[in-house]
Symmetry: C2
Amino acid sequence: MEKLFFVTRSEENYIKTIFHLGGNSSALIATNAIAEQMETKPSSVTDMAKKLAEKGLVHYKKYQGISLTDIGIKTALSIIRKHRLWEVFLVKKLDFTWDEVHEVAEQLEHIKSEKLIDKIDELLDFPKFDPHGDPIPSKDGKFMERDKQLLSDVELNTEGVCVGVKDTSAAFLKFLDKNKIALGNTIKVLEKEDFDQSLHIEMEGKALHISHQIASNLYIKKND
Amino acid sequence: MEKLFFVTRSEENYIKTIFHLGGNSSALIATNAIAEQMETKPSSVTDMAKKLAEKGLVHYKKYQGISLTDIGIKTALSIIRKHRLWEVFLVKKLDFTWDEVHEVAEQLEHIKSEKLIDKIDELLDFPKFDPHGDPIPSKDGKFMERDKQLLSDVELNTEGVCVGVKDTSAAFLKFLDKNKIALGNTIKVLEKEDFDQSLHIEMEGKALHISHQIASNLYIKKND
DNA sequence: ACAAATTTTTAGATTTGTCTAAATTTTAAT
DNA sequence: ATTAAAATTTAGACAAATCTAAAAATTTGT
């Protein structure tokens, strides 16, 4: 039986970042990569790595890198579950727009109450995806990775549905709103410009010309 | 124009405690009283008093005591507003019992987002009282103090409605649940035992015998 | 009013999370 | 293979929030 440690807010943020950079794989994540992602210094990451290793949340070998232990992964999934459920709550129940939810969810994800998040889950009727199309882990840490591709990667004439965004920045999301691009919209790729990789697409019946930068941040699920 | 400081979680907890001990009056609160209430040491209170004074949230005179400034009072009311609105949310929307809400609300009250709490307020249809009968300050810091008295203080044959509790501990609230005593219930005081101050009452039509300890923690509003 | 008791503050230490600057290790290049 | 560059760690410092123990101020009792 592993000893139970209290996990601080700062530790939770590190765990979350390590998960996002490395997934559930045992690949070693570089100190620098974590520091850059968190906008902190590599030396701070080293300090925290020792603390997390002490608590059994990460594997850490000096100069090699950091990866999550099984407990670390479980912890990360629990935080991500909370973050994404709160995002759904904010959008569905409180009329937040999808570009507004991240900052508040960053705070709410640290609230410690199993009952609270399970009740929120129930209130929302157990959603499987958050407002950006990212999957919500279940209580026991499982989640469905949706069959999706970047719009920039699919062949000409592919038809499908917009199911998610890669870039979740407020700037990008507001751009999508302004251009009436929303999850659930039908998409067909009509033409690809060789010169700048921009795409001519049909979205919900209307013709649209989008840059490569936009296409490489939109996920679509191809029609069967 | 007063300088705007970030108020930390710990500072918010001190502000809240000072408000609860001293209200909006300018009465000076003793270092010891605050320390006892917060289960901390007087020396820690002194340290924090200096910090809060620096930020313009309290008046502090060495050896004299501490009281909130106008900004401090505004800050306190904002925290209390958030705490009580979250309590209502937990009970009304997530089926928490009134003895379960305090601990979670203690965390939620520190979430920083004006839009969030205003939307929660709206979702709950702008409640005026929390699950324990305590008034919820409005956005601009006003709240109605209800016309209420301790059940132990009213005269014989008084009739009224149970509108609040003084002791909000889980133990007391669970006791009330077990004995089917709830806010909104009608109450009539039938007889007072001189020996131990216990009361014979009629609650929702049924006879009940309650100790002085219970009666001195229940608020009732007398019928007109 | 003065000594004793109480309250409050100060001084110095501790923990957490961070930083800078210097030292060390690893990686890459020729 | 040796050196230069890059990444990483260590050492020492700092701010926030707390504590203990000692000093100072206030209050109380006679």
